[in-house]
Symmetry: C2
Subunit: 91 residues, 2 copies
Amino acid sequence: MTGLISDLSILRYTPAGIPAVEFKLMHESTQNEAGAERQVACEVCCIALGDPAVALSTRMDGCRLKVKGFLAARNMRYRSSLVLHVTDYGE
Amino acid sequence: MTGLISDLSILRYTPAGIPAVEFKLMHESTQNEAGAERQVACEVCCIALGDPAVALSTRMDGCRLKVKGFLAARNMRYRSSLVLHVTDYGE
């Protein structure tokens, strides 16, 4: 998924000492659905842990980013509140 | 993404006459992040339009499903409320 970085947090460390950074990815694209093209936009809450977090923490809001990862619930109580865990990224 | 179907809606038609069905996908998996394996769970709101909708409307809650598609905001006001638009599916 691609988008522009927004609300980039400062680099923090989890209780286990793992670097972590959070940000939003402002995504816009054209997608094909039911035989028609449609404009798509969404704001995806992202978190990166470990090496990706250290690297991404140097970015600026407004930077374009392509990310790969997996969706997970923000917490076990609100399983439909989704966070994209970024495991790989590129320009 | 794979998961179990939940809250499958009845088949409806959009004002433009396109078949549509909504459901939740109860996802659980093991993912690798920052060099460690972790258990992941989330509930993804899904919508299918067109032929996929007609086919998926015959499924039952609790069925296992593998889906492909794109993330979009539920509406332009709440851009962080995400819906997975299913464009392809399998067992």
